[in-house]
């Protein structure tokens, strides 16, 4: 069965704040169709201060769904609504000392129910914009929606490119068939080892008449691009920051879980590809350690 943390087991066996809440003034019902799990989150909000005085839940779901619900109520009690809305699904998972990758959607369900309950309190209509895909890569917890979106956004053609952009498939190889299926679904066929036409490398890089960026604009552009990549890394408890730009060499600092990760080189490769596309020129992305050596 699942390798649940002690904290998950403890919250499952002794759930906090379960059962109906009398006089709740914010109620959110939300489910994850992937697992068939569903949760009702009930809040008692102080109308003066918007502080959550009490929170209770009822959950139809597996051990980690019940534990995530219990953790969520513990986290948000005493917070204002705005503070509570800052709680991410990762916070819920962290509170429980982590969840198995297949079960991360349980924490997402908690986060979405919270948004629904707050919207209900505020008399707003809340629309879920979250899409839960099938988990494809178990090594790095990447789902089908994420892979498909990344393939579309970057016109990816090969397994290797998918691994560079999303990390999916960069581990045990078990999901290669599934990733190929997604590539076929998006591209209509499978390209065998022919990377996509490198328009960034040739056409765009040498496009005549393209105004040259000033140094300031160029660094701004690099920062914006990194900013767009960061949420993906943060999902895995990693991060990236810009350290130095020296001509074609861009030095970055991979921090958190990215540091020393087996996929560090692939991550840098993915960052480099994005920067090449954004800047329209060939650049080299190097770890900050290389700066020391330089």
């Amino acid at each position: 069965m699942w390798d649940y943390s002690e904290k998950v087991r403890e919250h499952f066996f002794n759930p906090r704040n379960s059962g109906p809440l009398e006089n709740a003034n914010g109620i959110g019902d939300f489910g994850s169709i992937k697992c068939g799990d569903a949760l009702r989150l009930m809040l008692k909000v102080n109308p003066e201060t918007e502080v959550i005085d009490d929170a209770r839940f009822q959950t139809f779901g597996c051990g980690s769904a019940i534990a995530s619900s219990s953790a969520l109520t513990e986290i948000i009690k005493g917070k204002t609504l705005d503070e509570a809305l800052q709680v991410s699904n990762q916070d819920i998972a962290d509170y429980l000392d982590g969840l198995p990758p297949e079960k991360m959607h349980c924490s997402v369900m908690g986060r979405e129910a919270l948004q629904a309950a707050v919207a209900n309190y505020r008399g707003e209509v809340w629309k879920d914009d979250h899409e839960d895909g099938d988990l494809v890569c178990k090594c790095f917890a990447i789902d089908a929606v994420m892979i498909e979106d990344t393939i579309r956004a970057n016109s990816l053609r090969t397994l290797e490119e998918v691994a560079n952009y999303t990390k999916a498939g960069g581990g045990c190889s078990a999901c290669h068939e599934k990733i190929e299926d997604i590539l076929i679904a998006v591209n209509g066929r499978l390209y065998a080892n022919e990377p996509k036409p490198a328009k960034a490398r040739t056409a765009a890089a040498e496009a005549p008449g393209k105004p040259k960026l000033t140094n300031y604009q160029r660094i701004r552009k690099i920062e914006e691009t990194l900013e767009a990549i960061r949420p993906m890394l943060q999902r895995d408890h990693g991060d990236v920051t810009l350290v130095e730009v020296d001509g074609k060499k861009i030095y970055v600092d991979l921090t958190g879980a990215c540091r020393g990760c087996a996929m560090e080189a692939a991550t840098l490769g993915g960052v480099q590809q994005k920067l090449i596309e954004a800047l329209g020129e060939l650049v080299q992305v190097l770890p900050v350690a290389a700066l020391a050596r330089a």
Binding site: M1, W2, R9, F12, F13, P15, S18, G19, P20, D29, F30, G31, S32, I33, K34, C35, G36, D37, A38, L39, R40, Q58, T59, F60, G61, C62, G63, S64, A65, I66, E102, K103, H105, V108, M109, E112, A116, D128, H130, E131, D132, D134, L135
Partner: protein, 402 residues
Amino acid sequence: MQPIYMDNNATTACDPAVVAAMLPFFTEQFGNASSIHSFGSQVGKAIKEARIKVQSLLGAAHDSEIVFTSCGTESDSTAILSALKANPERRTVITTVVEHPAILTLCTYLEKENYIVHRLRVDRKGRIDLDEYKSLLNDRVAIVSAMWANNETGTLFPVEEMAEMAHEKGVLFHTDAVQAVGKVGIDLKNTKIDMLSLSGHKLHAPKGIGVLYVRRNTRFRPLLRGGHQERGRRAGTENSASIVGLGVACELAQHYMATENTHVKRLRDRLERGILARVRNAFISGDTLYRLPNTASIAFEYVEGEGILLLLNQQGIAASSGSACTSGSLEPSHVMRAMGIPYTAAHGTIRFSLSRYNTEAEVDRVIASVPPIIAQLRKLSPYWSGEGPVANPEQAFQPEYA
């Protein structure tokens, strides 16, 4: 507290007699059965004896019809791929929606290779429609593969009749009988079944040993090519210790066949009656009139299976669930879905699968343990209020789903 094992459809404990028979084959009887010297010939003789014991349990006409493999999955793959290779002009496979992944995943893959797969649907009790089956049989079908007994509900398919029907149309018939062997009387020589899969660890033999029965004169192509082992039908050095163990397990299974259908069946029925009398909104899934004697598949409405299993496990009781959340994948049980069981019940389906080692005292302990567990989880459920489901549960709680 002694643990109670009621998950025998997942795997069984090796019988001590099986282990005892195997041990010499790790030490003094280590020879390769193919060798000419005495180290090898002793092993060859033991394998021959084991083959005859398997033949006897299956009621096969010839011992040469028994091919040792590594597991049920290998037997299934060998059977289907052999039929397709040996009959290249036939590109259709007929199977059922409730097969084990060993068959279904292979079939999905075959579709990608442009084969046509028909999956027979089942009704609410898990039964197939023989008229629909008949209408699909024709000379473009390479093979039919239908399980003898379903692993989740124990429901039996009329495979002997299905094999007759296939034969009338000149179509090969394979059955995955891993759950049925040892619990259902099987006499292959008097059937039209061409191939049958057996798995050792479902009948108190070790894991890692299986059998594919291949009727004499069946067109066959091996999956593994190499040496001459198993007459070239399955190359690779024989797993002699496990083969010997399987032989003993088959002998024991034959001996205990009646026990399975009297003692074990009585325990299973006691368990079901005891639980249903104490827990409301619960029901048996599958075909209660035509199923394995050891399997109880009980759906508890408005709770989810994993929670039940975790709480049972806390009390030392091992069972399993057709729920989405306990298997490696998150998909709800394809068997429950195929039977049209609503989500709110399919998720709370627990399978207790007994063996000849279970006792009445164990059954009574499980009967006592289950009701409070279900009550505890229902108290957490948004579909439940006090002593019963909320009024119109499906309407009262309608979460938005992502």
